[in-house]
Symmetry: C3
Subunit: 482 residues, 3 copies
């Protein structure tokens, strides 16, 4: 990335260590893996994008307004979210001129120096839109025009990009009660792109939340019947999982602050569920309920084969004012200390050695990599380690992940890369960075004579493609729609 | 540093990575930033040093006896603090012969191999005193003579060194009730050196401490009136802050074990204050009071513009016997796990988005860098990250800080360097090391093609000078004395 | 390590950074230290091995079945422990054909790519058994034959290997009530190898455990008298420590989940001990008792001079099913967050400045290295830091340990290396890796001009030999048997 240098340049050895022995090995390993298709087993791309295949809007609405990685950084330096055009919950007016927002963004582009967001934007500008001038205040409008022109052409339609990006499969993330209309449309269309849903039932487990009645009502409507008891609730979840699988889903996803797992007595569950329906469930009830439901999800996974993903440790909406004014996912989620060893013991004691379960763990607390996660993955057949998540989906974050997990868990207990993005256009940039950092890690092992080059080449392919494909079971025969 | 090598050498590429591509870039970046003046926005230099401008005492009293970084290391290897001349609280006799102490120090100089204290001492001996022989038992007395001779000359008077070091501004740290006599004298003198106080009211917030009545009495005496109520207490703090600002202060400083922030009801505050005056405040009262006062300090900062510094996580005086015999600050402060995400939520919910507040966070718990601090700084406009503190003010500590914060917070949410030292003569050595490590970090980004060279040069200047100057508001028009 | 490359190669520069300046320095430092004898001050080798000097069994029983580092990795990828021949508690049949197990192991050898277990196995195969073909399914049986042939020759008898490995002293780990029969035999034999016991009384402190009565009974039987009171219990421990010392022991070892230290009133101790004898001690009693006994152990160490080792933070037997089926030490021990600063305060306040005590701390929670352990070791004369333990006894683990402890604690507050292994044949491989990583760390300091080469050579010898020898007091005159 360059904000003041003469030309926007994308170096062929970018991100590799500069030591010649490492770089040479990394380059060879990367050359071999860079041609492999992209597996995108976890992310937040809107499936309607590919269902409708409508042209992307102009550059600001594509790259800035919806991306909290971008506007949170400007906000942290005093650029208001209103001036960045982030829409308000109550519809209060915010900046609407995309060119003014783009200009503001360009003038602050130096804030991203040394960040992964900077690297992804740089890659996207250079590779996708052919930009060759560094983004800055003086070049902002010219670059805006250049991107806008691209977006108007048929090669920049979503499905065309999906193919250009060589995406083999893309998983979206969808609420448990979602009808998956866009997925049905894609399945029913002539287009052969593989876009699959992921079952995310979090909202249904937050029984003390004001939004829970709505979430349950949506599930009842989708099922076409009332869900009066906990037993009926479990039945509905099984049915929904089955529906998701019928549209190609291979995985579920679960987000919790604390990854506590603990079985509850069925009478307690009945009581909590009844209290929740009456709007009386407490925060303690919810914690206990979530802890139990994670075990239920593992049990259902052993039966329907859906891979279970667990994202733990993000304290959402740290600033109440931001939540009230702009809503969720606005860059105000802050990680907290996370404990896995004791919290997961109940679930793993039941299902950790069950060959039917795959449980992929994600953390924002890197101190758990070597201390807890790698030892768990190095013991339990069910456990795999998800790639460095969110803030750690970065050059140094990936380095720390590999350095702190490989020696205990090995490479084969990790789940490959996922881009976890809602920014469709950034997908190639993210995979490029990840593949380079994995190649660089392996190149370092080769240069230090820890492993040989042919093993490194094999592992490079696994990290870029094989592990994600197999861990998420995309290699198994797809479930046929009912 | 060298204890057994033939000559004391200060390599021009010291601390830089040896990889030629990184070193080359680091050297260029450092060459450009090394000529910038020093900003010293936080430290513990005795202001009387510069107010009186008296000659420094002999080498041992300058470099060893007052520096707990030095004598704690010898103590940890069984060299008694008495034999190092550390004065006792009760006046029990300790070693008084500075040459014997110096000899003991020199014979144990190998203990500092690979430590920042070793690097600073090495730099100070070589650059300030022109020593060219490695310090060891055999050379100890000769080097003592050489330093003593230097100290006797006018070029080694404190103000002369201040100018030789090219210090643009030096902030001291001063109790809230302090009269700031030395700062007044400096202001009133012909000397143009900028030496400013920093407002540190910790002692007044420790309402359960045996020393609190004395601290309050000192404040009352300074104010010239009784402080019977919590409201009067707040008024007195506002007045003192204003007085500090009138002498050039731009910042406050707050040290806590746990950075809890939480508002108390005014009746609870009145009750705690009354109990404290009666000597009846409990440890719980104190925790609650400190948590509330941090929010009050943030509020006052929004009004008077003083930058707020928070140093959290040091458990002071771990060994009761050392405290009783030698007093505070004797190398017996040990860090503890520190939590910021939840603890700071109350303060940040009120003032985190207030453009008038700057809150600089310091930690001794590096696991919070990537997990909590960088995400907080990458969201809240008020938050900046202080440089690696205390034990982490070191080569590897700085590397970890940049590697673990930059990708999420960027460079511009960090506060530049501060030397945090009471050892005036070590100031250039500390800035030299910091500037080199920052240049090396940036050089690594250049060598890996993450950023371009001209951006790296710009960032190098920011890290060496610009960020500290602006974050601590030394660039704003100084407040005129009332 | 190489699983698919043409030849099994052991590169002379293995594990060193590839940067030429670092590698050159590391090689010189390592060349000088690699000839030093091995000090093995802590480990789990069965002393009968050297007492009886019987030939090793065939390859599988030597290298695979007893090594949980090996079979846990295969288990984590779905290879059952039964098929690896791990014996069951109830004697249920498991695979007994060593060649089938070896074949399975060889076919999964790629799982160890990038792990220390892989590096140790590679070194052992190459150096000890002269294997030159990469281990894989196709080569498995040939390599099995080659190792089996070696094991049949007199040069591969345990004592011959002890001498070939140049082990100066080997400490075993032994229960407090152990009669130390093999140590007596070795002492009484003509063989001059130094094999000493280590006093490990953990089982006697777990007063709430179902196994405690048996442990106490064993102690009573060994003492030849009843132990009816806590006072008698302390007397018995003193006597046992003395017996261990009479057979050359220089150290004790203590394993706890939480390193809490806290004195109990003698009446509470009497009550707990009585309750324990009656089978009524609670989990809280045990925690309190263990916390007290750590202080008693420190006190006894000040009297009998045994060095005290503390291994904290492993939650043993995470999976109840594995414990029930296969027993302890089967790769199911998972680390937890560990706190030292507050937990050790009571012990260190009493004995941390006592020149007679050496307390070596081991952790599985690397976040404590820089935050707690290095500051404690850099203050308390009694404290030394044990080498990276268990999962962290690895290339990257050692790098992190030195980078995170040296700047605060220096080199001389660390305890040198120990291999901590029950796998006798892996001892040279483990010391080789450790010496190389220490040489590499020092080489990095030289290359960055932090220390000079002659200091680095001196420190290299200390890390490889001197520190372990002196910290564990093997340099002192051995205690003469009573």
């Amino acid at each position: 990335m360059s904000t003041t240098d003469a030309a926007l340049d994308l170096h062929p050895d970018r991100y590799f260590d500069s030591d010649p022995a490492i770089r040479r090995a990394a380059r060879d390993i990367h050359d071999a893996s860079s041609c492999l298709p992209l597996i995108c087993p976890h992310g937040h791309v809107d499936p309607w994008l590919l269902a409708s295949d409508a042209p992307f809007p102009e550059p600001t609405a594509l790259l800035i307004t919806p991306d909290h990685y971008v506007f949170r950084m400007l906000a942290s330096q005093g650029v208001s979210m209103e001036s960045m055009g982030v829409p308000t919950v109550d519809g209060t007016d915010v900046e609407r001129d995309p060119r003014r927002i783009w200009q503001l963004f360009a003038e602050h582009f130096h804030l991203f120096l040394g960040t992964p967001t900077g690297a992804w934007l740089h890659h996207t500008l250079h590779e996708l839109f052919g930009v060759r001038t560094p983004l800055a205040g003086s070049s902002a409008q010219r670059i805006y025009d250049q991107i806008a022109e691209c977006l108007a052409s048929p090669e920049f339609l979503p499905r065309a990009l999906f193919e250009r990006f060589r995406i083999e499969v893309l998983a979206t993330t969808d609420g448990a009660a979602d009808g998956l209309e866009p997925h049905r449309r894609i399945n029913d269309s002539d287009w052969t792109g593989r876009v699959v849903p992921t079952f995310r039932p979090d909202a249904l487990f937050r029984v003390a939340s004001a939004a829970w009645p709505t979430a349950l009502a949506a599930l009842e409507q989708r099922q076409g019947s009332s869900i009066p008891t906990f037993a009926a609730f479990l039945d509905a979840l099984v049915a929904r999982r089955s529906y998701f699988a019928s549209l190609g889903a291979t995985a579920t996803d679960h987000a919790v602050v604390t990854p506590l797992t603990r079985r509850l007595d069925v009478r307690v569950l009945d009581r909590i569920f009844a209290d929740a329906r009456a709007g009386r469930a407490s925060a303690e009830d919810q914690s206990a309920f979530e802890a139990h439901m994670l075990i239920e999800m593992a049990r259902m996974s052993t039966e329907d084969g859906l891979v279970m993903q667990l994202h733990a440790g993000s304290l959402r909406d740290h600033h109440a004012g931001i939540l009230a004014r702009f809503g969720m996912d606005k860059g105000a989620d802050i990680p907290v200390v996370t404990e896995f060893t004791r919290n997961l013991q109940a679930l793993l004691s039941e299902f950790g050695h069950d060959p039917r379960l795959t449980l992929i763990l994600f953390t924002l607390d890197e101190s758990t990599y070597a201390r807890e996660l790698a030892p768990l993955a190095g013991h339990y057949p069910a456990v795999r380690l998800g790639p460095p998540w969110w803030f750690h989906d970065s050059i140094e974050g990936m380095r720390r992940f590999r350095e702190q997990t490989t020696e205990t868990a090995g490479v084969f207990n990790t789940a490959g890369f996922n881009d976890d993005t809602r920014a469709f256009c950034s997908i190639p940039a993210r995979h490029d960075l990840a593949r380079r950092m994995d190649a660089n890690f392996l190149g370092g092992l080769v240069a230090r004579h820890v492993i040989g080059m042919s093993d490194a080449m094999m592992l490079g392919g696994e990290l870029a493609y094989g592990l994600a494909r197999r861990t998420y079971r995309f290699d198994r025969v797809p479930v046929v729609a009912a």
